[in-house]
Symmetry: D3
Subunit: 224 residues, 6 copies
């Protein structure tokens, strides 16, 4: 049994990027935790309905993915910045000390959305082996509609080196994604069933399986 | 009317990587030339049938793609090396001087197959603006089963920055690919219809179209 | 007729980096828009004269370059930060929705001045193809006295891959630059006529023309 | 006689990263200045004792290293952000104008601690040759427990190209480090005597000397 | 039980770079294979004694490391080139098909010695998932006296992201290294006991263990 | 007095890339050596006149630059390859052991001409500190018509971090270049007086001097 935490800036990141892998963890009896750094609120211009619907979606996704516990930092969406990162670090540190995760699935550092990049920065501040000795793996996931929309610059390239066979979990991943109905659209809108399957097919062919999710591993410690 | 040349190490590279874009050029009345650096021969262990079938395939693909003229360098396949690059450079230079291409579609420099990489090296030696003044664009294409199998190293990343809408040409691209029947397989074998469509779908969503081919532009000169 | 927008953090960036290219667009009948993210103000320690002179300079440059319309975000100069980026994004988004630019000439992401880098970040948030479907090209320009003063680190390299012949526009570019008299100096001060011509000569030799401006293309979508 | 300035975000950075090299400068009769961007304060939760002890440590380290003068910016530790960078720039600029340093030893831009990264950004804004004409060298140092804990991403790699033989100064470097007793621990805690010596040994073998410190040179101007 | 293969260009590479990790595999009951691409011969100027001693050393190291079987390609040392790579590929392919390794420990692609780099190229040609479906991990190891002597260029950086605790195997690793007596020297000669321990200490502090070996993981496939 | 060696693949590289800096060394009383890896010969299609003229040019340039001794490896021009690199390494090693250079000015590893790249590879094999203990600096120079014509790929970027004021030597550098009359042309041909001066002006403005040459320092060892 492993303890695993997946990080979202906005709910749906985790399904798009690591949904199949999380489902696989749950199926293997691992404990999966979820940390979401932002939320939508009325003061930020979202209606009561949208806010409450979002909280409902989170609950439903928790159930499908088999999430043990969800941590909400509740920063206003689209407003993370470098000052807030300094605020987030001790809070994320507390959560990691409570969860003691062995594996972190984190947002990619060069995603188009700045909330993703600041969340990455904050999480990275909580990965030093001498403070978080239980930590064995840190992986960045690719989040459709964000990772591939990073500016085409060499320092922002997502470079996958880690593939997970999710052939048995693709349908359930799509089911989870459908909970976030308002985030989905029709191809060529990037967050579509068709595009999610296309990417999983392409990544699958690299790994020699039907469907795969791809990650960029940035830390692996073999301690046994 | 533009003059365009596409470079293959092995026939099928050009269809996999730039087939839709070539078809689009032909449809727009551009003149397309084809340069293939290697060939299969009996001394290298291929049967008479395989050798003659390959030459047939080249002819059929020429027809579908609307190739004006094909240049065969006929080096033995899987044997390009640094000495042969030195031999190839003056031959490619001659061809460019004959064709006077405005656009080059070249193999990516970090593809898994060394024939691709040595072909790239030889072609690059023939792109200096002061020797080839008609040259306005150099693009690297991504070749399924080679580009995504480069070792996951930062200096080998294919970094697409140029997308071509091939929605109207995807069917004809697949038709062209089917001529190379022996090179195709079933998913998760990477050279499959399903995977070709998956990649074109994923690239399409980035470009906002149904199907796209992606390139890495490394030279563009606006001279008009 | 194309619609084009050029982004400055401080007036003069656009002339230094893309002045010749903008003049060429205007000469070809394209519509050119200008977006400036900062401004100088009295509360920030500039005199009434400096402030009003700057607004005059902007008007004169508009005329020379043939700018259709200028958008001023008026953030205090030398004070852009990550919080302000979040504020700028919706404002830039509105402007893009009004202008519907096909081509963006943007500041380079690694320029020495942080105002340039934060402006880049804000602009990039407004380039997703599924939100800004008219967008076909995104180019970063090199701004003398900023781009070449980035720290010599691989992730900050300006890597030109796109050259525009500005031989017919170099004199008018220098004329436009002379409007910003207070920003110019004598060589080896980087913003000098001599240095501007030297760089245009060097870039010209790469492109095979007398004078050129160099850009880093990061997005090109061929949709026709 | 050269004038040299070493930059710390937190006292002990300078000893860990450049202690031997500073001692060598002092031994050679060079003038060494020290700039520390943050400090600990009671409002930030540190006890009176910790705060006064830290100021004592700074004084003792000054003596051992032979520091001419120390500049304290006194920003709260662990709270530097992009807005504070804008504040720091003119203050650092003033200090550089007073000191007129020939060589800057600066924190690495990709260290794990964000205070290091923001300090780097602020210092870099004060290195343009046309404003700071006395400046001849800019070097980034590697700070044990920060530099090697940067996320394993290509754009964050510390790439040493400059080695200083500190064989005659290793003992005094360790003596200086021992002043910061609270910052040291037992191996495998990274800030240990054993690890400091291990790294200096490994860097020494690259340089062909017993002990060395490694730097990434990002600017060198030979003006004589 | 896993099947593992370690690649050397010259005997001693495997001990320097992955000796502790191999010992750990053997201790865990995994099957370890060894592939050496070059050898020393009399025609190349080595004495009979040197040649036979080297073969003896290989046998002794096999015993200590618990090697199942060793494959010798016997190319002359210091003479690998691009033509020989083409020759090596089918031979390495045959060996992989016989061994069916799950994990490959390969030389780093940017090591100072060209034999290392050509060996890397040849091995990479045998890692495609659709040809070698049993392959789950490809790791590059760092080889003291070669990896850290690569030219300091960004495209040649060894970027460790995978650490193995070898605290229980460091003594036996040194014992194995001592078999290659002629390759060892005194510090600051890089291949010394002192430097091997220094590097393992430094890598250990990153991983939070006493001694570690560091690798750059370039492929991981989770297929279960 | 320092001993310095400059490496050319073809005579004129050294003047284009480092002519001013070499002149400065000579003026400061340093001993400068010159190593040229290729030559032109009659069997390779050059006329007797061209061959003898080239040897004359070398002699004249030696005189102007103040070269102590020139080493000719005499490999046929445009034919260096990976096998020849293996041959060159021991020959270059012998020369370095004879000269005992403190500083190496070497061709850039990504220049367009493959002779430049293979020369770089061979030279790099002779820079290990434990074999060449007198070596303190390794610098790559930028060679007009080759360095700026490398394909626009991140792994091939020339990244200058080291500038030498050559204001007092620019005229003599041009005089030296004029000896190679057949290699010079009119702008926009890249090897023109106008372009050489333009680049030196642009590099000068970065360094704060009238004319400068730029280098990429890849090794510096401070041993005193």
């Amino acid at each position: 049994m492993k303890k695993v935490i997946v990080i979202s800036a906005h709910p749906d990141d985790e399904v798009l990027g690591a949904g199949g892998t999380i489902l696989k963890h749950s199926a293997q009896g691992d404990q999966v935790f979820w940390l979401i750094t932002t939320n939508i609120t009325e003061p930020d211009g979202f209606t009561v309905e949208m806010v409450s619907e979002r909280q409902e979606e989170i609950k439903e996704v928790e159930k499908i993915l088999g999430i043990q516990k969800t941590y909400l930092l509740n920063y206003p969406t689209m407003k993370l910045d470098s000052r807030i990162v300094n605020e987030m670090v001790p809070r994320i540190s507390e959560i990691f000390k409570e969860v003691e995760p062995e594996i972190i699935y984190c947002l990619n550092r060069s995603d188009a959305h700045s909330d993703h990049r600041y969340t990455f920065d904050a999480v990275m501040s909580c990965t030093k082996s001498f403070r978080y000795s239980y930590l064995k793996q840190v992986l960045l996931y690719e989040c459709i509609s964000e990772t591939e929309f990073a500016p085409a610059l060499p320092e922002k390239v997502f470079l996958p080196n880690y593939y997970v066979d999710i052939s048995n979990f693709i349908e359930k991943k799509l089911e989870a994604m459908n909970i976030y109905a308002s985030e989905l659209g029709e191809h060529p809108f990037p967050r579509s069933e068709r595009n999610i399957k296309a990417l999983a097919t392409y990544r699958g062919a690299i790994a020699g399986v039907e469907y795969a999710e791809a990650f960029q591993l940035i830390k692996f410690i073999d301690k046994e």
